[in-house]
């Protein structure tokens, strides 16, 4: 980035190459807090400007931390493999807005067409599973016990 000296015009970055990933919080967060994974080079001010200009989200406060990921894992050649580090930003929304991370993968019932190959496959798999289950008349007692 170009050097900044007192009196220089405000440094502007057109077409920012930085991406921000919204993540579900691991620990319980207050209702107005949104958690992001951001590149290491970004600061709190950058996050605020990014969200306000590109997404027009009112931001009250931003806190960041760097998550160190392990270098202990080893691959099949016994070399240490580093999992990349990442920066996490906790953004608190202004104007008393709340955000709840939605369920993006809801359970959908798969409706197959009549007479299709997938339906027959599914039926076959279900029959197999039924056959593998133990005899319900034995009341949970395993086959190891004779009679």
């Amino acid at each position: 980035y170009p050097l900044y000296q007192l009196g220089n015009p405000q440094m502007r970055l057109f077409r920012p190459p930085f991406t921000m990933t919204l993540v579900r919080p691991g620990k319980e967060q207050p209702p107005d807090t949104v958690q992001f994974r951001i590149p290491m080079e970004i600061t709190k001010f950058d996050v605020r400007n990014y969200l306000e200009t590109i997404y027009s989200v009112p931001v009250a406060a931003v806190r960041t931390r760097i998550q160190y990921c392990t270098n202990k894992k080893r691959n099949h050649l016994n070399q240490r493999v580093k999992r990349p580090d990442y920066k996490v930003a906790y953004v608190q929304l202004a104007q008393q807005q709340t955000f709840q991370f939605p369920d993006i993968f809801p359970e959908t019932e798969n409706k197959y067409e009549e007479g299709s190959a997938e339906e027959m496959q599914e039926k076959f798999m279900e029959d197999e599973r039924q056959r593998q289950k133990p005899d319900p008349r034995r009341g949970g007692v395993t086959e190891w016990f004779g009679l």
């Binding site: 050097l3 077409r15 921000m20 990933t21 919204l22 027009s56 989200v57 955000f99 993006i104 993968f105």
Partner: protein, 243 residues
């Protein structure tokens, strides 16, 4: 124009239309191109009275980090082809600037979905979309750099944006040294003065050896090619056309 329908343009713009205007009919790309400017004006922090144009704007900006609610839980999501450099060169600078942000938001959305899928130990629907967006962004950047380079060449005649010079480093290699910006002149910069841009005396033999190696391999290659041509000429002698 039917070919343009499969463009990334229609996929990205149509999705954003479905957010803005709740119309279930398929929107033509021409319609998309005209009304995208109206949509963009809604995106900027415009006063409230200009929003009367749209029926339902994006309620929460954070909704743009997720796909449309109809696509949640689908195993695959349809998407068009990525932008090519040829198509991008036809667009104006303002269009490219806006497209960059459209692609950026799309990438953010896809990365969010990918991370959530990893969290839930499920497969992300259509992961090839991320690569398409990345390639489009790279090509857009290339086109913008091309335009900036040509402008700089025409205005100032400089080929490179960042100034530099050919210098010999400590190892005897001649490299393109890129200049950095400093607030103080070089003769006051102690760290710069410790960097040596000359070859010490004991490194000269190694430079000579590497030069010899390079020349030898060049001569060997030329000789090999000449020998191959002669062998071919022996097998297939040149004969003039006989009437």
């Amino acid at each position: 124009m039917a070919a343009a329908v499969t463009c990334r343009l229609s996929a990205a713009f149509c999705r954003q239309f479905q957010r803005v205007v709740t119309v279930s009919s398929y929107t033509q790309p021409q319609y998309a191109a005209q009304t995208i400017y109206k949509f963009q004006s809604c995106q900027q922090r415009a006063p409230v009275y200009s929003r009367a144009l749209h029926t339902s704007c994006v309620r929460n900006g954070l909704d743009e980090f997720f796909d449309l609610p109809e696509n949640w839980g689908e195993p695959t999501v349809k998407s068009g082809a990525p932008w090519t450099a040829k198509q991008l060169r036809t667009k104006s600078n303002e269009d490219l600037h806006k497209l960059w942000y459209v692609l950026l938001k799309e990438k953010n959305m896809l990365l969010t979905i990918e991370q959530e899928a990893k969290r839930q130990c499920l497969q992300m629907p259509s992961p090839e979309r991320i690569k398409k967006v990345e390639r489009s962004m790279k090509r857009l950047d290339t086109v913008v750099q091309e335009r900036a380079d040509s402008l700089r060449l025409l205005q100032t005649g400089q080929e490179k944006a960042r100034p530099g010079a050919w210098r010999k480093n400590v190892f005897g290699k001649t490299i393109w040294y890129k200049f950095r910006e400093h607030p103080i002149p070089w003769h006051l910069n102690t760290r710069y003065k410790r960097k040596r841009f000359y070859e010490p005396l004991h490194v000269a033999p190694y430079t000579r050896l590497s030069l010899e190696k390079h020349l030898k391999s060049k001569v060997r290659k030329e000789r090999r090619e000449k020998r191959q041509q002669e062998e071919l000429a022996e097998i297939f002698p040149k004969k003039t056309a006989v009437a």
